[in-house]
């Protein structure tokens, strides 16, 4: 009996050779920065400076500069923190979880996704530091010996767990990303003609030569890093959700939060990966590496996690009714029909309804539609966090404490600062580092190309 399996679409198209892969990726690092790059970089730096000024004012005035009040003590700061840290989930998910599942399509997108992850976690971290108000006392969140008779941090508090989770996640992701980049940096070093370029990439490539013994250890290290990063990714947003879930505020105190937040994080992370990669792919002409199959696969993940998030919204609502707790019930009705109804319905429209369009293959494989949806999802996920935080807080138990929240210019300015930071770092990455993992793409090239050829450049 003859059994034949369906032919998979190739991961790399265009009949690329190993030499072509090197050339297609490294030429962007070797070439002079283009006008377009200077333009977008300039724009990011303007955002960074405007935001930097706002940040300076926030530090000197204090967080009273924000629109917070006694009732709404958390608003844009924590909304933005959770939003950024959620976005910072896709990279490690792609490189770690998909490595364990042997999903070879990850090879073309993991480098850029991980870079994006790290920069997003930087932005998230900057909101943690900002919301402390006195940022220069940030080390008080660490268990350091001190002069108060060694009064330690409270390890019962999810906020302390968060300190450990975010800093571990950031540093381990950074290590994973850097170790994965070492062989590619060595490629750039070996091709470099200018002494300075050779010296800089030489130092960062740690004297890598690609010896078989080194590769053997490198692969073992990558696999173990992937194995420990997988539960790490899941733990980070679980712990972020516990900042809310372990409290006693109606609307926050629900056990569904950890899985619901993790799904939301993957959802928004993949949306941001799509936003950035669609542009990178176009500008760098990477259509043969990041193919329609890649985009479609990522869209499927967006659709799946979007639906998980939708089910979570409905479950929350059902549980509020089923619990019989009137405060919980009021909180959810207030979300839908209260003063912040527009935020709630924006969230529903962006996160639950719009990703359902991705059931259609023609939309999954349409670049304009994908790009638009990825931005809609990111807007929706921002509203989700805003709804959870502000709409649960603004109606306190005593009606005399009811207050609405409206952002000040410094709320907006600090958010702009993180955008400036994110894009500045991403554009620096896109220019000076290889945006696609060349070594990994080469390793899947032969088993998955449409036309094997071995000509060299």
């Amino acid at each position: 009996m003859h059994i034949s399996s369906a032919v998979r679409e190739p991961l790399v198209t265009g009949g690329k050779s190993y030499g072509d892969v090197t050339y297609d990726i490294v030429r962007h690092v070797e070439g002079k920065p283009t006008k377009l790059w200077f333009a977008v970089m300039g724009f990011s730096l303007v955002l960074l400076s405007l935001g930097g000024f706002s940040l300076y004012k926030t530090w000197t005035i204090g967080i009273g500069a924000w629109g917070l009040n006694k009732t709404v003590g958390w608003a844009w700061d924590i909304t933005n923190f959770v939003w950024w840290v959620g976005i910072g989930h896709a990279g490690t998910l792609i490189s770690a979880v998909l490595l364990l599942f042997r999903q070879k399509w990850r090879t073309a997108v993991n480098r850029a996704a991980e870079a994006m992850t790290i920069f997003a976690v930087f932005c998230a971290g900057s909101f943690i530091l900002m919301h402390m108000g006195r940022t220069w006392l940030a080390h008080w969140a660490l268990p350091l010996p001190n002069t108060y008779g060694s009064l330690w941090v409270n390890f019962n508090s999810p906020l302390v767990w968060d300190v450990f989770a975010i800093s571990t996640y950031l540093s381990v992701s950074l290590v994973f990303w850097y170790i994965g980049m070492v062989p590619d940096l060595a490629t750039i070093r070996d091709r470099a003609t200018k002494p300075l370029t050779k010296a800089i990439y030489g130092a960062f490539s740690l004297g890598w030569t690609g010896g078989a013994k080194h590769w053997q250890r490198y692969e073992a290290v990558s696999l173990i890093l992937a194995a420990i990063s997988t539960p790490l990714v899941l733990s980070v947003h679980t712990i972020v959700s516990m900042d809310f879930a372990t409290s006693v505020i109606p609307g926050w105190h629900t056990t569904i939060f950890p899985p619901y937040f993790v799904a939301g994080a993957i959802f928004s992370g993949f949306a941001m990966v799509l936003t950035l990669l669609l542009v990178t792919r176009k500008v760098y002409k990477l259509e043969h590496y990041i193919t329609m199959t890649h985009i479609e696969t990522m869209n499927k993940i967006v659709m799946l996690t979007g639906s998980v998030v939708g089910v979570a919204y409905i479950t929350e609502f059902f549980m509020a009714w089923y619990s019989g707790v009137e405060y919980e019930q009021y909180c959810f009705l207030n979300r839908m029909f209260g003063p912040y109804w527009w935020a709630y319905w924006s969230m529903m429209a962006c996160n639950v309804f719009s990703p359902q369009l991705l059931w259609f293959k023609s939309i999954r494989r349409n670049l304009v539609a994908t790009f638009t949806l990825s931005i809609i999802v990111n807007i929706g996920m921002w509203f989700e966090r805003f709804v959870i935080i502000v709409s649960s807080l603004h109606r306190d138990y005593i009606p005399s404490s009811w207050r609405d929240f409206s952002p000040t210019i410094y709320d907006v300015g600090d958010y702009i600062f993180t955008f400036g930071l994110f894009f500045t770092l991403f554009f620096l990455f896109a220019k000076y580092l290889p945006v696609v993992n060349m070594a990994e793409v080469k390793s899947v090239l032969k088993s998955s190309t449409d036309k094997p050829s071995h000509k060299s450049h």
Binding site: W152, F155, V172, T209, K213, Y218, V221, S443
Partner: protein, 177 residues
């Protein structure tokens, strides 16, 4: 040629399949291979070269264990012994609350301990001057280096073995020692 210099014969292969199939034949001919350099991890290469499996996993486990124990010890010491607090009459040793931080420290120690060990044992540092036999070894070629000092066969014989087993180029490479 000074006596202190190390001299190598470098065989260049165009394809990972060629180099994988060539290695057993080259070894049979009595040539000792110094190392093979490839632009990406070629599976099975460590086996045909006769390398033992990497024991970095054991290192990772030990660092993980260290992180786990340090985390648990630190938190229990601080919260339960050094400054115990009565929080609603609850236990001073609430282990479920220790799980998140202990877990994060386990991961942190594993990752950093393992990666630093890997870099040290492989001699990978920012100031390492790499021995590059052929710069195309990080691009699109598969580079086999043969140390002449450790081989009894003559240069010509080694070259012959390499070319007859699929090497597309054979060069000399000398490093000052």
């Amino acid at each position: 040629m000074s006596a202190t210099n190390t001299k190598y014969i470098v065989g260049i292969f165009d394809d990972e399949e060629d180099v994988l199939h060539a290695i057993p034949h080259i070894k049979e001919s009595g040539v000792k291979i110094h190392e093979v350099f490839t632009p990406f991890p070629v599976h099975g290469l460590d086996e045909v070269l006769g390398y033992q499996r990497s024991r970095i996993d054991i290192v990772a486990f030990l660092f993980g264990l260290t992180g786990f124990l340090s985390g648990l010890t630190m938190i229990s010491y601080m919260l339960s012994f050094d400054w115990p607090m009565n929080i609603g009459g609850k236990s001073n040793m609430p282990f479920p609350d220790f799980i998140p931080v202990t877990f994060e420290l386990t991961v942190l120690f594993t990752a950093f301990g393992m990666v630093i060990t890997f870099l040290i044992i492989s001699g990978l540092t920012p100031w390492t001057v790499p021995q590059i036999f052929d710069i195309r070894g990080t691009d699109d070629k598969f580079v086999m280096a043969i140390d002449l000092a450790h081989n009894k066969l003559s240069d010509e014989q080694i070259k012959e073995v390499l070319t007859s087993n699929g090497a597309t180029e054979v060069n000399y490479k000398e490093f000052k020692s």
